[in-house]
């Protein structure tokens, strides 16, 4: 739908307003603000411990912010919790992969279709015709998603037995099954070789078109992000230090300093940059 990536609708899909997050003495996020427009691919980059995953946790409802708030289509999301936010239309993947390991690949996606599986109890128990038709549709939908993610051959395998790359794609399939409007991808290319990263980039493009999605993505691989994203924000020590088009961000002196200057040093820095362990 939204072919022009920087089209500004009346109300942004998601607004992050001055969100802070404090864990004991560590300020993981410091007054971070962002706005996501419908349909864009928005990248979040920054050195390790910059607070990227913490921001994901706040947006997806896993971590309540210590200050500030998030707005979904203009309405505050406080108190909804992870499942409430998912039902609004926010789905996510995890940096360290959280599949339902004892379930099959197909069942993982079926769990993601939870919202679409509502059925009257008695009909479900007795296996009524309506219930079986609905089950058939769910199975079909699950297989469609698995086919899109090239996992259809592995449908009956236990998710815990999958190799790494397949697990990453399964997590995306499971997130898509929840019919999100906004997809949060936490380092989807971690541990992938250049060819796989290329496939992933194409996949994200396909997904966005297929589902008219907005995508917020954390990734360390900067060239991939430059190609993929419409806009980028850069976090460093919990603060947003840059925001804009990839070209603008690339030349921002503060970004260059964050990546080449003060961070990356083996001393770890004195301002608490070693924290923010990605939880």
């Amino acid at each position: 739908m939204n072919q022009t990536p920087d089209s500004t609708g009346p109300v942004p899909l998601l607004q992050v307003e001055a969100v802070s997050c404090r864990f004991g003495g560590l300020l993981a996020l410091d007054q971070v603000s962002l706005e996501l427009e419908e349909g864009e691919i928005f990248g979040l980059i920054g050195p390790n411990g910059a607070g990227k995953t913490t921001l994901f946790n706040v947006i997806s409802g896993l971590t309540p912010p210590s200050g500030g708030r998030c707005l979904w289509r203009g309405a505050p999301t406080a108190g909804l919790g992870a499942s409430g936010l998912n039902r609004l239309g926010i789905a996510r993947t995890f940096q360290n992969l959280r599949l339902f390991e004892s379930l099959s690949v197909r069942e993982n996606v079926l769990v993601g279709l939870h919202h679409a599986a509502r059925a009257p109890l008695l009909g479900s128990l007795l296996g009524s015709g309506a219930f079986r038709r609905q089950q058939g549709q769910l199975q079909e939908r699950a297989m469609e998603l698995l086919t899109l993610l090239e996992l259809e051959a592995l449908a009956e395998q236990r998710a815990g037995d999958l190799p790494y790359g397949d697990r990453r794609r399964l997590e995306i399939a499971r997130a898509l099954a929840t019919a999100p409007r906004l997809l949060l991808l936490d380092e989807p290319a971690a541990g992938m070789n250049p060819a796989e990263k290329d496939d992933l980039r194409r996949l994200i493009g396909t997904i966005r078109q297929h589902f008219t999605l907005t995508v917020l993505i954390i990734e360390h691989h900067v060239p991939l992000m430059m190609q993929l994203c419409d806009r980028l924000a850069v976090l460093n020590f919990g603060r947003r230090i840059a925001l804009g088009s990839p070209a603008a961000v690339r030349t921002d002196p503060r970004v260059i300093e964050a990546y080449l200057g003060s961070s990356g040093g083996s001393s770890g820095g004195s301002s608490g940059g070693a924290g923010g362990d990605g939880r």
Binding site: A82, S83, N86, A91, F94, F100, S124, A155, E156, A175
Partner: protein, 303 residues
């Protein structure tokens, strides 16, 4: 095997299923004997104190038994509903400890309430069935119903949500599953099953006292599930049947039986850490039984 022992085994299997239900979504609750005692007291009080339930005094009508089971299950379920909200915020061993505390609170209440008969409890509970065989058939039907529900759960949205929570509660919340609600449903279902079983058991044992719901019983019912296997419903059923029968079958060896019983409980998990019943063993069994007949269980079904 005499019918009285068979009846106790079936009751054991029902209690094991009650422990299994919360475990299906990863919740280790030891509250089953507490709800079992509550259900038993409901039946005992009604059938000894209320003329409509008491029948002739020695024998009570079957509809009264059914009504007591419904009421016993309902009261247990209501207690579970009331305390489930806060209690289920606890995880793992902390939930187990909280549910043990619940069992103890209910036990002390049952000992000291003015109408529960103190330490002696309530006796002379009328019999809806003339013989133990009647109980066996009735309980078998109840167990079959419970097993069928557990089996159906597998195909249902609720069952999948429970399995997802067991594997990863946080990820389950992130795919839109209302995790507190799902855990509460499992906990209440477990309580209802235990309460219904208690109402039936009170009639069968003819008397009921606070010992029905003790810490010992919590551990015993947990052993059913650990021994039989906690992943699939046939596991707890098998565990409940075997471990209820064992102390009785070992009676001829005298005091040694307690040692042997302890050894079985110890060695079972040692050699079968997943419990006796696992998916692999069931598939193997199905393959042996169905040799010749083609079984398409493993084959992916075309939608």
């Amino acid at each position: 095997m005499d019918a009285a022992l068979l009846e106790q085994m079936l009751l054991g299997a029902l209690l094991a299923l009650s422990v299994y239900l919360p475990l299906r979504c990863g919740q280790l609750s030891l509250a089953t004997p507490g709800f079992y005692a509550v259900g038993g007291y409901v039946a005992a009080l009604l059938s000894t104190g209320v003329p409509a339930f008491a029948g002739s005094g020695a024998t009570s009508p079957l509809p009264a038994l059914l009504a007591e089971m419904v009421l016993g299950g309902a009261l247990a379920g209501l207690i579970a509903l009331a305390i489930g909200g806060p209690v289920l915020r606890l995880r793992g061993i902390y939930l187990a400890i909280a549910t043990i505390a619940l069992v103890e609170i209910l036990r002390v209440l049952n000992l000291n309430l003015p109408f529960t008969g103190g330490a002696m409890g309530i006796f002379g509970i009328p019999q809806p069935f003339a013989h133990a065989e009647g109980y066996v058939l009735f309980t078998l039907a109840l167990l079959a119903l419970a097993c069928w529900l557990c089996q159906r759960l597998e195909a249902l949205r609720l069952g999948r949500a429970m399995a997802a929570i067991r594997d990863d509660e946080l990820a389950a919340a992130c795919v839109g599953i209302d995790t507190p609600r799902t855990k509460l449903i499992a906990f209440v279902a477990s309580a209802v099953l235990a309460g219904v079983t208690g109402a039936l058991a009170a009639h069968f044992f003819n008397s009921w006292n606070a010992r029905a719901g003790s810490f010992d019983a919590s551990i015993t019912t947990l052993a059913f599930v650990v021994f039989g296997g906690s992943r699939l419903w046939p596991g707890p059923v098998l565990g409940g049947l075997v471990l209820t029968a064992l102390p009785e079958l070992l009676r001829p060896v005298g005091d040694l039986r307690l040692i042997l019983f302890g050894a079985v409980i110890l060695l079972g998990p040692l050699f079968f850490p997943q419990g006796l019943v696992t998916a692999e063993r069931l598939h193997w069994l199905a393959a042996r039984l169905g040799r010749g007949r083609h079984r398409g269980r493993q084959a992916p079904q075309a939608p």
